[in-house]
């Protein structure tokens, strides 16, 4: 009887410890969000979002940084999405189990595991110096695109994997070719999941700093770019600059809080959008 009591006491002890530790984790994570939101929300205004930085980046807004990030994200997805989605389709639908598939998957995983600063070095060496693009939107976009590529491939793969094989077999049985099956049956069913994954990857790309440090980001450039060989400012780099090496760090604190909040907001919006899409399409697929 006594042993049984101890047994349950141990359980209660362990479980309560885990509850406590989880609570600590949740509090830590939540307090970061709360801290930035509370400090940043008073800075955010229409003016802050749409005007140029002024007086050594201690006043004004972050408009060029927002536009710069938008351009870089667009550029990188133009590169990464088509290649990534096509690649995912090939790996999941065409490649036969064997050496080639294993090798490509290994390479994709390796690419995903390379630290972002190494992408920065690579981008600088290849795009900026060897191809002589200079610090430019195109160099930065391509570097970011390469960084995103494995994420897009994996997302596509997972989405295609979740399509039940009986649909493919049913389509073949009706006389459709492989390509027709993929286009008319597999892809429509996988599209919602692919799109949600892509939206989440956009959130990620917009916050990457290390790859753009030496390929595109400008310290201070209060005008909009006129072509793809121009430099731009970008939100994450801007936050880094004004919180560590700005001319007057204390004075630019409010700007930094605001910028951090905008970055979090982008990730938050991407997450909410992805969740909403997942739910919407989830219902639709079930109804059919």
């Amino acid at each position: 009887m006594k042993g049984k009591k101890i047994k349950y006491m141990k359980e209660a002890l362990a479980f309560n410890l885990f509850r406590l530790m989880s609570l600590v984790v949740i509090i830590i994570l939540f307090s970061i969000l709360l801290f930035i939101t509370v400090k940043g929300i008073s800075v955010i205004s229409w003016d802050f979002l749409t005007s140029m930085p002024e007086e050594g980046m201690t006043k004004g807004g972050i408009f060029p940084a927002i536009i710069g990030t938008l351009i870089l994200v667009t550029g990188s997805i133009l590169f990464a999405f088509p290649i990534g989605v096509l690649s995912g389709i090939y790996i999941n639908e065409y490649a036969k189990d064997g050496f080639f598939k294993r090798f490509v998957k290994l390479m994709t995983n390796n690419l995903a595991g390379i630290p972002s600063i190494v992408f920065g070095l690579f981008g600088m060496s290849l795009f900026v110096n060897t191809l002589d693009f200079g610090d430019s939107i195109i160099a930065g976009s391509l570097t970011l695109g390469i960084l995103t590529l494995p994420v897009v491939i994996r997302t596509t793969e997972e989405a295609l994997k979740s399509v039940n094989n009986s649909f493919r077999l049913g389509s073949y049985a009706l006389g459709a070719t492989k390509l027709q099956t993929i286009r008319k049956v597999v892809l429509p069913m996988a599209t919602p999941n692919i799109i949600t994954g892509l939206i989440l990857s956009i959130g990620r790309v917009s916050g990457e700093t290390a790859p753009i440090l030496f390929t595109v980001a400008a310290y201070f450039l209060p005008k909009l770019p006129s072509g793809i060989f121009d430099q731009v400012m970008a939100l994450p780099y801007h936050l880094y600059v004004i919180s560590t090496s700005g001319t007057e760090i204390e004075k630019s604190r409010p700007m930094a809080y605001g910028t951090a909040l905008v970055l979090i907001a982008i990730v938050l919006i991407a997450n909410l959008l992805a969740n909403a899409l997942r739910r919407y399409y989830g219902k639709k697929v079930k109804m059919n």
Partner: protein, 402 residues
């Protein structure tokens, strides 16, 4: 005919898809080529600034002076020739700017045309001199003796204890403090993140109600997407001052701050991956354990955790890998002192932070530039090894599950 077209286009599409799928392999290959092409250039380079030489009096017995010794001489840590194997004389330093201490403007000539002659004579007349002078002044009539400059060897690079790439006259490229700094900070991070992350994963998969889980899981996912620069900013504003106050330090930017920030950043990854691993435990196994009279805690301890151990290991290793490669957050909170860390309460500098902080100031193709690429190679190799270990563990796991 139509059928032929159909077949042809099918093959065409397949070819295009195949090409896309080989892009990643191609890119990895390109990264390796470009990284190592630039990085390997640092090996066997002279450490004395290009176009300059170190010269001594020709009667000086010292034949070779290592890079480290040159730095110590010019920092005046070594002040006597005896410690280098020469006479018992104090060393007299000479940099090109010092010439006006020895010669008047008239002696140097209107257009400074006499400088080479003056330097040559100066070195000849002072036996204890060591001079750091432009190479072009050491022509045929030069009466001093040029010391052959040391080159950067692999062991100097990896085992060297000092990283001072802008030092004059002889740059120091020892990356040991950077490697140790990176490992210190990453290990600290994983020691913080693993217990907390694992506890949360167990809570989420075994204890929490589905409702609770549906609230916490999205929050954790959201936090894994927040940019590292935001975490760094948070660390700079909140954690750095906190450490400074708690430990009464002159500066709060320490290895510990880096570890805490990285630990927080690694939490979402570790929670997600270990929770996935815990959830793969077959229901039958757990039920069998419960049916044998074990309570839920015993089941977790004796069934669920052992079953998912490899997945949890993979999560931990992946967490370390992320921490090693993390750049911005670490750059912002660790203080970036390139010395071998004596403890977590001192400023440290990691490999990625070094690259990020210094690459902007280097000349393209210069020695410093190449050294930073070599650092990139080291980082690449470290993370590659970690990836392969994770890959190996999870492939074993898959065969086990099947």
């Amino acid at each position: 005919m139509k059928k032929f077209f159909k077949r042809f286009s099918e093959k065409l599409v397949e070819g295009a898809l195949f090409l896309s799928s080989s892009v990643t392999t191609f890119v990895v290959l390109l990264i390796v080529i470009f990284l190592f092409k630039e990085g390997l250039g640092v090996i066997n380079e002279k450490t004395v600034e290009e176009g300059f030489v170190i010269a001594v009096n020709k009667n000086n017995r010292v034949n070779t002076i290592s890079t480290e010794q040159i730095k110590n001489i010019f920092d005046q840590n070594i002040t006597n020739w005896e410690s280098l194997g020469g006479e018992n004389d104090s060393i007299i330093l000479f940099r090109i700017d010092d010439i006006s201490n020895y010669y008047s403007d008239e002696q140097l000539g209107d257009t400074l045309q006499n400088i080479p002659y003056c330097i040559s004579q100066l070195i000849d007349s002072i036996p204890e001199i060591i001079a750091f002078i432009p190479e072009k002044y050491t022509s045929k009539e030069f009466k001093g003796r040029v010391i052959n400059s040391d080159i950067v060897t692999v062991s100097d690079f990896i085992g060297g204890k000092e990283w001072f790439p802008t030092a004059q006259p002889s740059a120091q490229f020892g990356i040991l403090p950077l490697i140790l700094g990176t490992l210190w900070v990453s290990l600290g991070a994983i020691l913080i993140a693993l217990p907390l992350g694992l506890a949360t994963a167990i809570y989420l998969s075994e204890i929490a109600s589905p409702k609770m889980r549906n609230v916490i899981k999205p929050l954790v996912e959201l936090l894994s997407g927040i940019p590292s620069v935001v975490y760094g900013f948070f660390g700079l504003i909140v954690i750095v001052p906190m450490i400074q106050n708690v430990f009464g330090l002159p500066v709060g930017e320490t290895g510990l701050a880096g570890s805490i920030v990285l630990g927080i950043m690694a939490l979402p990854t570790i929670i997600t991956i270990s929770e996935d691993a815990l959830r793969t435990t077959p229901r039958e196994m757990k039920e069998a354990s419960l049916a044998l009279g074990a309570n839920r805690w015993q089941t977790v301890l004796k069934v669920t955790i052992p079953y998912s151990a490899s997945g949890i290991t993979a999560a931990a290793i992946l967490g370390i890998g992320r921490a090693i490669g993390e750049t911005m957050a670490v750059l912002m909170v660790t203080g970036n002192a390139a010395v071998i860390p004596g403890g977590l309460l001192e400023p440290v500098r990691t490999i990625p932070a070094t690259i990020a902080a210094e690459l902007g100031e280097t000349a393209h193709g210069g020695l410093h530039y190449k050294a930073l690429f070599a650092l990139g190679c080291i980082l690449f190799i470290m993370t590659m090894v970690i990836n392969l270990i994770v890959e190996y563990i999870s492939s074993k796991r898959k065969t086990k599950v099947q």
